[in-house]
Subunit: 137 residues, 2 copies
Amino acid sequence: MKAVNGVHHIGIAVDDLDASIPVYAALFGSTLEHRDTVEEQGVEAASLAAGISRIELLAPLAPDTPVGRFLASRGPGLHHVAFEVADVALELDRLRRDGVRLIDERPRRGLFGLQVAFVHPEATGGVLAEFVSDDRH
Amino acid sequence: MKAVNGVHHIGIAVDDLDASIPVYAALFGSTLEHRDTVEEQGVEAASLAAGISRIELLAPLAPDTPVGRFLASRGPGLHHVAFEVADVALELDRLRRDGVRLIDERPRRGLFGLQVAFVHPEATGGVLAEFVSDDRH
């Protein structure tokens, strides 16, 4: 069984997106791929290429947003990990059959046009894990 | 400039290694690659293949160890991210020239025979980041 292709990106919560982009770009020799503000998720995000993976920087638009609450309770740092799969819907079927608790019961449109679904951290020992299918490449 | 090849593994702090291995194996369709106890790092670790990336599960041998203190303060979850590079020593030279604060000034032998070095979280906005060169494959 080969469910995931590898780590698609790691999500990092930051206080200040403008200040963080050049820091991560220099650290990992990364280049900015995408940048977007998604009001309904309360987040401003930037995707940096890191070889075949990506770093997704997430800054909250307000304190009372998922990333804002994360920063308030844990401070900046690793927020989630996203695994690339061929078909998010098929993975969700597989997980549902195994009784895994999900945040998203169906794939939804995530940042930068990705198809995404999140698994509940309760099912993953405290890790916020995302499945992604990336039909952009 | 292409510094990193991609995410080599994500490190996850767990309370119970035996209980966690089958959970993560099922979640991500992963298979156990390596398992080892490293007394001097106070850790028992397991590496699970996740496509071309890996999940490294870390359980502390005692509360007064780096992973034990992490669990006590933050609970189980994402612990670090490791980026694969061709040559860890060259990356450290590059980071040192840029004034980046390092934990390891020289590459050292990490878990499972990898060449590794950690960057200080102060330099990475709270992210514990590792550079790895993997001459096992």
